[in-house]
């Protein structure tokens, strides 16, 4: 473990500004990334970044200067050229966007590497240090660089705030926006322009190879948590900023570790956490929802079996586990386990090998039976299915029917088909062949 106060160096203005710079870069990447990802332009950002590399080298060869504005200008020129080339290829030939991006990205990157190698070989002594543009080196930023980046980042964010409404509509429903008299070309150009600037701002700190991740990863992570664009943008900015700052901080611990990869690793960590933990869209939440569906279905099946058994046995209320095993077609262990679970929910009582529904359990069971039979009737009378096909689909739907729907079903059956729903009977005839659906059938006693 390192000494935080020591390594943070927060009293050191340079360290402070470098941290602040990478925080800004990350946040800007998150903001623009949200729009880029939703507009399905995220790979465009990747192409842009790779195509920027030859620009950096050429700008240096041309001017001999290593100042950030000069290098960024060069990078922007070739980056934009690359994007235009991709657009030219996709509109003028039959090559699809992914292939076009692949071609342009690699060839520009190749040229960039050749130029960089040339520079390093020929300029002995003044090792240009341009290779930091490959994987990023936040620590190499001087205060002037940070100032340039901060100004650009703020500029980008201000423009996003101004054009937020236009961007939202452009991505969601461009034809509609156009019908209102907005020029799609202009809105799209503004958005692409901002994406270009964002990539260029982050180039030195993150590097051309990985900067696309600073666009994509925070945005995708943020999407897990929310169903609102503005929340997504703010969250992505937060995640991006956090990744940027902590990436810089961590890579500064070992001077030879480039910043870009560390930032990307932090962002990806946050992405994985989001994907797992987010309340509605996250994997765990989904898994929990599925699980609770399964449990509800089992509960319904057991309670229904109790009601059906009671009906068939002249209102006996206590049944042996064996009888339930027979009725449900489950393994004995599952029946016992489910009975124990329902006892904890106060839906059944279990005593010496017998199971009995409580008043509450009986009510729910009766409701389930009623849903099931009404639904079956409805399907049959709608001529959707013949009677011998009914059991399965009814089984799947009944768990989802609400009292409202039931009421409507009853109404329809009474009105249109003259059925006395109070006395709805099992349409399979005597001796219910009730079997729960799915993987839980077969096995045990036929």
């Amino acid at each position: 473990m390192f000494d935080f106060l020591h390594v943070l160096h927060l009293h050191d203005a340079t360290v402070r500004s470098v941290l602040f710079g990478s925080l800004l870069i990350g946040a800007t990447g998150g903001v623009l990334g949200s729009f880029a990802v939703l507009r399905r332009r995220s790979l465009m950002g990747d192409a842009l970044a790779h195509a920027a590399l030859p620009g950096v080298a050429l700008a240096f060869l041309w001017t001999g200067s290593k100042s950030l504005p000069v290098l960024i200008s060069g990078a922007t020129c070739t980056g934009v050229l690359g994007v235009l080339l991709i657009q030219f290829i996709t509109t003028r030939t039959r090559i699809k966007a992914d292939a076009a991006i692949g071609i342009v990205l690699t060839v520009f990157f190749g040229i960039g590497i050749v130029l960089l190698t040339h520079i390093q070989r020929s300029l002995v002594g003044n090792q240009a240090g341009l290779d930091k543009f490959l994987f990023g080196q936040a620590a190499s930023m001087v205060e002037d660089d940070v100032r340039v980046m901060s100004v650009m980042s703020l500029l980008i964010i201000v423009v996003v705030l101004l054009l937020y409404k236009e961007f939202k509509a452009l991505i969601f429903d461009p034809k509609f926006l156009q019908s209102l008299g907005y020029s799609l070309q202009r809105v799209d150009l503004a958005l692409m322009g901002l994406i270009v600037l964002t990539v260029m701002v982050g180039l030195q700190a993150v590097g051309v190879v990985l900067i696309a991740a600073m666009l994509i990863t925070p945005a995708v992570a943020a999407r897990f948590w929310t169903e609102r664009l503005h929340v997504m943008v703010v969250l992505a900015a937060f995640i991006g900023g956090l990744s940027g700052a902590s990436g810089t901080f961590l890579s500064a611990q070992a001077p030879r570790v480039p910043t870009g990869p560390v930032m990307v690793l932090v962002a990806t960590g946050l992405f994985v956490l989001s994907g797992l933990l987010a309340p509605r869209r996250g994997l765990l939440a989904r898994w929990r929802r599925q699980r609770s569906n399964v449990l509800r279905e089992r509960r319904h099946h057991l309670l229904r079996a109790l009601v059906v058994l009671q009906e068939r046995s002249d209102n006996a209320t206590r049944f042996r586990v064996d009888e339930l095993v027979q009725e449900l077609g489950w393994e004995r262990r599952r029946v016992a386990g489910e009975a124990r679970r329902l006892r904890r929910l106060h839906l059944v009582d279990c005593r010496d090998g017998h199971v009995q529904a409580t008043a509450q359990g009986l009510a729910e069971g009766t409701f389930v039976v009623k849903s099931h039979r009404l639904w079956e009737h409805y399907l049959v009378y709608r001529d959707i299915l013949s009677a011998d096909h009914v059991d399965r689909p009814a089984d799947e739907v009944e768990h989802l029917l609400t009292p409202d729907i039931l009421e409507r079903l009853e109404e329809i059956l009474q009105r249109d088909h003259g059925i006395d729903t109070e006395r709805v009977v099992d349409i399979h005839g005597s001796g219910s062949q009730y079997r729960p659906a799915g993987r839980e059938r077969n096995e045990v006693g036929t």
């Binding site: 939202k168 969601f172 429903d173 034809k175 509609f176 926006l177 907005y182 664009l229």
Partner: protein, 305 residues
């Protein structure tokens, strides 16, 4: 020919192709306008003041990637009516709606809204795109979608005001979706999504509405609710143009009908133009020569390009 490089080269090609195709097969493309075959089934309103006609289309031809999709459209839509557009797939129904709003390039012809170009009149035109045309998983609430209906009035950079949001909310209430205002749109059923689109158009507070298949994939209750609202709009003197696909409800819903199959087959009061003859012309195989011609043009262009 020199026009391979000219973007406006299409009209010449299109007209040339249409003329030669019509001549060589003897199948008259202008059949509907020919008084000798049957009563004129394209009713124009030449006597009315152009400034009182919500939509007038004159000699319009549209081509996508040089493949013609709508030929020589001449059309008047009368004010204050519920107007249906029917026709088979690929007949150019959606294209016509887009063309009215000048969202697709015209190879020839023009459109006027109350006698003026669309650009001057867009504030009085409301638009409902096809539901499938957008990504319903987009992170946005129903109310935000409806508020977009106000963007035309709000203008660049400025934000929708309180009043705009209020109007959007009222529009949602109107389509019976008030309680879903803050739902994310992917959590709505197909019918509810369609209602949201309708509410957005209502929020535009327009005089002329262009709706692309507002009844597609909705449940019976929603269809009922939508048609009620359309009739209410008509009662307020608004003109509503609806792309429709269910021929069974055509006579019940629409006062005026446009039957389309790459050209206007018939246009007029529904009870006058909706009959076996026009249905045959619209949905029968008689127009294949037009599609063949269109294909030939495209093949030619492709072979050359």
């Amino acid at each position: 020919m020199t026009d391979a490089s000219r973007p406006d080269g299409a009209p010449q090609d299109v007209e040339g192709a249409s003329r030669s195709a019509g001549a060589s097969t003897g199948d008259s493309i202008n059949q509907a306008a020919d008084p000798s075959t049957d009563s004129p089934s394209i009713q124009l309103l030449p006597d009315l003041d152009p400034a009182s006609i919500p939509i007038r289309i004159h000699d319009m031809t549209i081509a996508y990637h040089r493949k013609p999709v709508l030929w020589d459209v001449d059309l008047d839509v009368p004010e204050g009516q519920l107007v249906g557009i029917v026709g088979p797939n690929g007949a150019g129904k959606s294209t016509m709606i887009l063309a009215i709003m000048n969202l697709v390039p015209k190879a020839s012809g023009w459109v006027r809204i109350y006698g003026k170009p669309y650009e001057e009149m867009r504030r009085i035109v409301g638009y409902v795109p096809q539901r499938e045309s957008v990504d319903w998983d987009f992170p946005i609430s129903a109310l935000e979608v409806v508020t977009m209906g106000r963007f035309g009035h709000v203008g660049w950079i400025r934000r929708p005001s309180k009043q705009d949001k209020q109007l959007a909310h009222e529009a949602l209430e109107k389509v019976g979706m008030g309680e879903y205002a803050h739902r994310q749109i992917s959590q709505l059923s197909g019918g509810q999504q369609q209602r949201v689109f309708l509410a957005r158009a209502l929020a535009q507070d327009a005089k002329v509405y262009l709706m692309d298949e507002p009844f597609a994939g909705v449940d019976a209750a929603t269809e009922r609710a939508i048609i009620d609202i359309l009739m209410e709009l008509r009662a307020q003197g608004k003109t509503i143009l609806v792309v429709h696909h269910d021929l069974q409800t055509v006579t019940r819903y629409f006062d005026w009908l446009i039957m389309l199959n790459m050209r206007v087959v018939a246009s007029g009061p529904t009870e006058e133009v909706f009959n076996d003859t026009t249905l045959n012309k619209t949905y029968g195989g008689r127009l294949t020569v037009l599609s063949q011609a269109a294909q030939a043009v495209q093949d030619y262009e492709r072979g050359r390009g």
